[in-house]
């Protein structure tokens, strides 16, 4: 069992969600986050003076899934979240020890 954490551009969320649904991924958790990588901040202008916005808004997407589906899901996210410009985001894959469905007390992959 693995967890995929993907930080993506906010306007790409719908596209990524639909693409993941197509390959049979049924659930995800989405958080509005802020951060910067190589893209850095951006300059804005107010009443003639420039200022830097350090942290840019992003979406963090978390999906838990069986090991066999990971490669497929990562490829799908890369394909659907990509614009080719700087600031497209990152994907991290982490191991997950256990999963529980609270309603039924099901365990492991049956629970996700």
């Amino acid at each position: 069992m693995k967890k995929i954490e993907a930080v993506i551009k906010p306007f790409k969320l719908e596209e990524v969600k639909d693409a993941l649904a197509e390959i049979g991924i049924e659930g995800m958790t989405v958080t509005e986050v802020k951060g910067f990588g190589r893209q850095k901040g951006k300059t804005e202008i107010y009443r003639g003076s420039e200022y830097v916005v350090d942290f840019l808004p992003k979406i963090k997407l978390e999906v838990i899934l069986g090991d066999d589906k990971v490669e497929d899901a990562v490829a799908t996210i890369v394909k659907s979240a990509r614009t080719g410009k700087i600031g497209d985001g990152k994907i991290f894959v982490l191991p997950v020890e256990q999963a529980v469905r609270i309603r039924t007390n099901e365990r492991s992959e049956a629970a996700v």
Binding site: Q39, K40, K42, I45, R47, S49, Y51, V52, K85, G87
Partner: protein, 584 residues
Amino acid sequence: MKSKNRTMKWLGIMLLAFVVTLGLARGVRADDAPKPDPAGTATGNAGDVQDAGGTHFVASAPADLSDEDKKDAGKVKSYEEAKKAYDEYLAQAKIEPLAVKLADGIGHNRVAINFMWTLITGFLVMFMQAGFALVETGLCRAKNAAHTMSMNLLIYPLGMLGFYVCGFAFMFGGLGPIGTMGGYGGLNHEFTINLFGKPFGLCGLNGFFLKGGAYDASVFALFLFQMVFMDTTATIPTGACAERWKFSSFCLYGCFVGSVMYPFFGNWVWGGGWLAMLGQNFGLGHGHVDFAGSSVVHMTGGVIGLFWAWMLGPRYGKYNKDGSVNPMPAHNIVYAILGTFILAFGWFGFNPGSTLAGTDLRIAVVATNTMLASATGAMASCLWMWWFRTKKPDPSMMCNGMLAGLVAITAPCAFVSSAGACIIGLVAGILVVESVYFWDKMRIDDPVGAISVHGVNGAWGCLSIGLFADGTYGDGWNGVAGTVKGLFYGGGISQFWAEVVGVTTNVIVIGLTTVIVFKIVTLLSGGTQRPEEAIEIEGVDIPEMGVHGYHGFVMDRDSETPHPREHAHGRATSSEKPLAANTH
């Protein structure tokens, strides 16, 4: 905590002392005082009836000549002419008593129209308080919204009560007859000194607490109209000093503004004081002419704002050590634009109402000039930013530009042509942008541009009368024969100099008054008018007001307060250039 208690105590004592002292001031001198008419039933009669050209239907009895005057052939001749007209009128009235009764009714109606106009336009000006509140709060940051709005609310009662206690008396106590509203003459005590052999009216002394001889319907109408003008001045510095002013210190300021800071200059221009008499006494055009208050109202507010903001110091984080600016973006442009429209609407009371007469049909020209100048002001600011400055149209500057055009046209609105109004607004729109940049260079932090909008363009508005007045209006203004004419219409330079004197006097006198009042308020505030730095960074809403402007909303405080840096834009210039906005 201790200093807070002391402030509150002082505030109470001062208010009390103020009321008691001035309560003792005499309302009106008992001798030869005209009889007030609180119910308005005796206001307006045949004497108020005029033809369209302003000639009175009823000839009034000429005043008897003194022995001195009888030696003057000219005076004797005009006396005889007036006497003849009066006798003819009396004879006519005897033949047609019904006509005189009808004329009484028409006179009352004419005065009633003027009352209505003055009151309704006064109500419109009152609503400008809402506009100010929205513009100022919109252009400030979300964490200070409750504080900024509250200042805008409380300045209305604080200023009003000060004006009621003594401000109105100082400003209009020596006005003389209120011509358009029945000619009641109870406000007849101007404190005057003699300088260079000429009388210099300094302040009025009738009408404290609107009691005694001031308890007259027409005086009350005048009070309402003038009160809302004063509150316009009073609320301008709350914008310039926003986000960093202890609320208690602001309240102390509010006690002074309507009572003593505003009325004296106003008396000199509108109350029959010495600036109005520059024409009669020294031959400078028609004296300092200010139709609806570019200097009396707006410039006064702007100058108070300038000096107060300067002495108060900039908001935390506004300027870096190298002099560069850390902008603190407006949290709600929607408020700012809505507020601007409310102000522009209220200005249809501000300017056309200043005739104090719905029967003066010049109100149409005044209103149209007002709207034209607001249009060219907004356009000029927008395009100036778009083409020459940041390459963006900049909504906050559009707001400032529209208001700048309105402020500038306030003094000349009745005296200029439509083309003149357009040019005055256009210049104002450019002036306001450059002025905002200028004050930032001077490190005088003005979150909303109040100094540039009201101070700088108030001055420009007055000066523009001396250039653009086209000589179609203002016959006999301030007791000088002929219409008001500026340099570009063959009126010579003298009107311009009268405006220069008025504007210079405003900066000096209001500036000086502001410094003195600032020192007093600092003293009463326990040494500083600024909240602690940590409070300012956190936002003054909770520490000062005890309530959030936006309770339950998550605020991004980090982006709301920039921290001053050694060099501007360190991150943006030191590494990879940031990309355009559409890359994320």
